[in-house]
């Protein structure tokens, strides 16, 4: 095994100069970036692209619309799920207000992942048995129909991963045109969180005879609700 300074000075020798002490000049980036003109357009392109990837999406303006949307998508299913599993709906500690009140009006109790068990492995088992994982999103990307989620002690990464369905709430103002803009905001955080997950549609694979198949490991169904205040 090498120590860092030997390893680095070997590279400097190969490059034929001492290691720079100042950051190398940045490369000029002049690619034309994808840009939309209004927030409304951003939301609608975002949803189109999300749906093209196989996700379901809707815009809501009130608690009532949220409730209607959830009813339409999931119908009586949660009632059946709860009969088998009281922890069928697994969520962040705190979802956007509109989502919290819609779930409580529906009387669909949410299990908070981070507090669901003491041992991480037990939490994973709970997440793997849950029917629906519910999160918020920190950003959206119109161009690719992507939601971007930061990790945080009150959240949990497995919620958007282990259950067969993932539902995410996003405020319309958080939807950006492209990844570049999102990464600019990530860079502005200074030190990034332990994980930032960019999710574009359901889990997919074409590894068997190039035949597309959904849900080999991650969620099979993905839903997004855009909250437009």
């Amino acid at each position: 095994m090498s120590n860092t300074s030997d390893f680095i000075s070997n590279l400097a020798a190969k490059l034929g100069r001492p290691t720079p002490t100042q950051p190398p000049p940045q490369v000029k980036l002049s690619v034309p970036q994808y840009q939309l003109s209004s927030s409304a357009e951003r939301v609608s392109v975002f949803l189109q692209n999300w749906q093209a990837l196989g996700g379901k999406g809707a815009i809501v303006r009130s608690e009532d619309e949220t409730l209607q949307c959830l009813k339409q998508w999931f119908g009586e299913q949660p009632i059946t799920w709860f009969k088998e599993n009281s922890k069928a709906l697994l969520a962040w500690d705190k979802l956007p207000t509109i989502a919290e009140s819609a779930f409580s009006s529906l009387n669909w109790p949410l299990t908070r992942y981070s507090q669901s068990a003491f041992d991480p492995r037990d939490r994973y088992s709970i997440a793997a048995s849950a029917e629906l994982g519910i999160t918020g999103s920190d950003w959206g990307i119109s161009l690719s129909g992507t939601v971007v989620v930061k990790s945080d002690p009150l959240r949990g990464r497995a919620i958007s991963l282990l259950p067969p369905r993932h539902l995410s709430f996003i405020e319309s103002t958080k939807i950006q045109d492209n990844l570049f803009n999102v990464l600019e905001e990530v860079a502005a955080l200074g030190s990034p969180p332990a994980a930032i997950e960019m999710i574009s549609g359901p889990s997919r694979t074409s590894d068997i005879e190039m035949d597309l198949s959904i849900g080999v490991h991650g969620p099979i169904e993905v839903y997004v609700i855009v909250i437009d205040h």
Partner: protein, 471 residues
């Protein structure tokens, strides 16, 4: 790993005789290539994106010492264990030690070409570890005991029936070979493994130097599983896999996803800045980063080939290469196949005897260079590698003799005339329809499968002289 013990000719013959393989290779490469065309056209100004990608990669490689140092500092500041491995053996030792320190029995892996390069699975299996490839394609070839045949779709050479046959002993019952059944089986099978994995091993698509972050791209979500659930995570990276900051990441991620599969982005792009926050409910508590040199520093010092380190492993060059499209990846015999594999394998492995055939797995048509999102002049590098091989004296005896003879005749005009006349005479028994169709070795090496133009009854030198006289 049967492929590694066969000769090049045996592997090529095997590939040519396998009609499913050839059909599958064409299907996969056609699909990926056409998707890439669409995805790159959609972005508009693809050439500007390529130029930017190339500029970013060049900047990284020519300042690799600075950026690597920065990456290591950032990682260590947060308590990540960074291991610098000079050789594949060093890297394997690091991983083995971590696994044994933790007394780990179940090791989960998501796709990593470095782990193929260092033959990690084999070593861990010898230690009695249950090591599982979790990417569906990688899982298939792991059970089959084969190396990947394509960098993006590693098991594309397997028929669905072969896949079902491989899974059956594990399932313990017959499986139908339709895709949903097979993927469902893997989902259930793998779930249990994910939930009890002790250590996760992942690859790394990019490492962000300024923040010490690792970027990982998968479509299945297995990369997320492996980097979220086990308590200990190991990431393997080739030392060139750096990007200076988030500012440049957008361009490289766009180029990678669009060139690899024609997606805008893969289903999951994960940016890890490990280890987890102590209060986070999931994510690895302990994180190891293994950075592999394996002669990459030699390539860095070799100006002729330095640009090969710019590669972002998208596989676009595979999909357009007429040689790859005919043969698939196993005929190359190397872990990295396709045009970029032909360039880097001889440089990484430094063994002309074993890998000297690779620079010749090319028609030099240049399609690879044209497809490459970071504009690596691959066909040019292949020519230069041929030159290196010749200079190092590793060309076959026959080839050397032929070129000696060539020089001898072409520097002596009279002798050449005489030889051509003689040739025109000697070729007669082998000429059919104006083509040479047989003959003794070494001529037969060629004429066994192709024909040669005959020596003209009146050589050019004679024609030229006659023309001059007429004037």
């Amino acid at each position: 790993m049967t492929m590694y013990n066969q000769t090049t000719d045996e592997r090529v013959d095997k590939a040519l005789a396998n009609s499913f393989l050839r059909q599958a290779t064409r299907r996969a490469t056609d699909r990926l290539r056409n998707n890439k065309y669409k995805a790159s056209a959609e972005l508009g100004n693809w050439e500007e994106w390529r130029a930017a990608g190339e500029a970013i990669r060049k900047n990284v490689i020519s300042n690799l010492d600075y950026y690597l140092n920065q990456l290591i500092e950032q990682m260590e500041k947060r308590g990540v264990h960074v291991h610098l491995a000079k050789t594949p053996a060093d890297a394997v030792t690091v991983v083995r030690n971590i696994v044994s320190e933790h007394n780990a029995k179940n090791v989960l892996k998501s796709k990593s070409m470095i782990s193929e390069e260092i033959h990690l699975n084999h070593a861990l299996e010898e230690d009695g570890i249950d090591v599982v490839e979790t990417d569906l394609g990688e899982y298939i070839i792991q059970i089959a005991g084969e190396p990947p045949s394509h960098i993006i779709v590693p098991a594309m050479h397997k028929t669905r029936q072969q896949v079902a046959d491989l899974f059956e002993p594990i399932a313990g019952h017959a499986l139908s070979s339709d895709t949903p059944t097979l993927t469902r089986f893997v989902r259930t099978q793998m779930r249990e493994k994910f939930l009890r994995g002790d250590i996760g091993i992942t690859g790394c698509n990019f490492a962000v130097a300024s923040t010490g972050s690792i970027v990982m791209v998968t479509n299945e979500g297995n990369g997320r599983m492996v980097s979220t659930l086990p308590r200990v995570q190991i990431t393997l990276m080739g030392m060139e896999r750096i990007v200076p900051s988030f500012r440049e990441l957008d361009i490289l991620l766009n180029l990678l996803a669009r060139s690899a599969t024609g997606q805008r982005f893969s289903s999951y792009t994960t940016i890890l800045t490990p280890p987890k926050n102590t209060a986070d409910p999931d994510g690895p508590e302990e994180y190891h980063l293994v950075i592999l040199d394996h002669n990459r520093s030699e390539i860095l010092g070799d100006k002729l080939f330095r640009s090969s380190l710019n590669c972002i492993r998208c596989g676009a060059c595979f999909n357009v290469c007429p040689v790859y499209r005919q043969l698939g990846g196993h005929a190359y015999g190397s872990v990295y196949s396709g045009p970029i594999g032909s360039v880097i394998t001889p440089l990484l492995e430094k063994d002309w005897k074993k890998w000297g055939h690779l620079p010749y797995f090319s028609s030099l048509c240049g399609a690879c260079s044209e497809a490459c999102p970071v504009r690596i002049p691959l066909h040019d590098l292949l020519v230069k590698l041929r030159m290196r091989k010749t200079q190092s004296g590793h060309t076959p005896q026959v080839e050397r003799q032929i070129f000696k003879a060539y020089r001898y005749f072409f520097t002596r005009e009279k002798t050449l005339r005489r030889a051509l006349r003689l040739g025109a005479h000697l070729q007669r028994p082998f000429v059919r329809n104006q083509r040479i169709t047989g003959g003794p070795p070494p001529l037969s090496n060629w004429t066994n499968s192709r024909t040669l133009p005959m020596v003209a009854p009146k050589p050019f030198m004679q024609l030229w002289a006659d023309l001059k006289n007429k004037r």
